[in-house]
Amino acid sequence: MKLNPTDMKPIYVQIAEGIEDDILNGVLEEGSECYSQYQISRMFNINPATAAKGINILVQEGILYKVRGLGMHVSKGAKTMIRRKRHPDIAESARKLVLDAEKLGIGRDELIKIIRDVTIPEKEDK
């Protein structure tokens, strides 16, 4: 999770997405405890109210839930919920990629070939 103050997105949205990213890549597991507003506040030196705003977005969407006395936890099925929600983001990223490719004179077919050839190093098992 990282924050970028000059991003177009407000800090609390970045916090929500940062938590989502950590759930998607397994740093936070379903059923386990999530960061508290005070942990996030301390980590990034931001107002705890801003951190709480980010967390609350995820509570409202059911991705996090509150356990009395034990803080926020990651819901079962959170990964699926996030994947479904953020599916359209890929189209947006693709649009930006197409624009960048056009700038370089790379057509769609060539771009698709490039995407197909992308290699990603295998994930290390923890």
């Binding site: 103050p5 000059t6 991003d7 177009m8 407000p10 800090i11 609390y12 005070y38 506040s41 301390r42 990034f44 030196n45 931001i46 107002n47 705890p48 109210a49 801003t50 649009r95 930006k96 624009l99 700038k103």
Partner: protein, 297 residues
């Protein structure tokens, strides 16, 4: 409940209006950034809130009461302010004085922090460097734990490491002892994340009072070809403009729809958030030219 209510506040020093009709309401238990350029009126506003100055016109209420010469509310207000240390006392004396003024003052913690910052309490205040004086006044103000804590330029003269530490210290103490904190600064940077709200003033007037999120998304930079952007110029509220040959950078108030943004992007315009710091700078810029116009003549 509101911690502070200002109505048409005017403060005049001779012919000069330091504050020129400010109306404002601040809720309790928030950290508010008071931002403005040198001479904008920040210190005058804080000193008026602290009850040191009597308004020329208009009214000031702090926790429902007029703070000027009002002993009942003054014990709930602390102003971090170098000027208050007019005599050249030992720091020890000043610390004891703080303990007398504010019943909640955490003397033990104050001594621990001064020790950490390598400020010996046997020193006289005038022997301290600019940065050390800032640290000392900040420690005193913060540990007074007043319901209204006013910090005037709390990072003045501090190096980057100290600025960072001050920001963590402020946050930690605020979380443990929630209260209304107003932090004045001409520079936001390190303290930006701490603020929930921003009050921007210029020439003694209120420019805006917004949540930090609203300031962050208030304006955009559009960068790209002059021919495309000039068409935007007439339609938008432009608060910044700079060009280099065929390239133009426009800073515009963000009232663009997602569709309009996408269309601009497709025509090769780069769009970026202006950021809190730049919004404040661009909203308080002098209209004509800049310093480069002066030196190039």
């Amino acid at each position: 409940m509101n911690a502070v209510i200002l109505q048409d506040l005017v403060k005049r020093f001779g012919k000069k209006k330091a504050l020129d009709g400010i109306s404002l309401e601040l809720q309790e238990n928030r950290i508010v950034g008071l931002i403005g350029r040198n001479g904008a009126g920040k210190t005058t506003l804080l000193r008026t809130l602290a009850g040191f100055l009597r308004p020329t016109v208009g009214s000031v209420l702090v926790f429902g009461q007029n703070p000027f010469d009002n002993i009942r509310v003054l014990s709930d207000i602390v102003l971090m302010d170098d000027e208050r240390y007019t005599d050249n006392s030992d720091l020890r004396v000043l610390i004891d004085r703080a303990a007398l003024s504010w019943s909640q003052f955490d003397k033990a913690m104050a001594l621990k922090l001064l020790d950490y910052f390598n400020i010996p309490v046997k020193t006289k205040i005038k022997k301290l460097s600019k940065g050390m004086k800032t640290l000392f006044s900040l420690v005193i103000a913060l540990l007074s734990r007043c319901p209204l804590t006013l910090l005037d330029e709390p990072t003045l003269g501090l190096d980057a490491a100290h600025r960072k530490e001050i920001s963590s210290l402020l946050l930690k103490d605020y979380v443990n002892y929630p209260r209304t904190i107003i932090v004045s600064s001409h520079l936001i940077s390190e303290l930006e994340g701490l603020m929930e709200q921003v009050v921007l003033i210029d020439n003694g007037r209120l420019v805006f009072h917004k949540t930090i999120e609203d300031v962050q998304s208030y304006a955009l930079y559009l960068t790209g070809r002059r021919s495309i952007l000039e068409e935007q110029e007439g339609r938008r509220r432009v608060i910044y403009k700079e060009s280099m040959g065929e390239m133009l950078v426009l800073g515009v108030v963000n009232d663009l729809s997602a569709e309009e943004l996408r269309r601009l992007e497709s025509s090769g315009i780069e769009i970026s958030a202006m950021g809190v710091q730049d919004v404040c700078v661009n909203m308080t810029r002098q209209d004509e030219g800049g310093v480069l116009d002066v030196v190039s003549k």
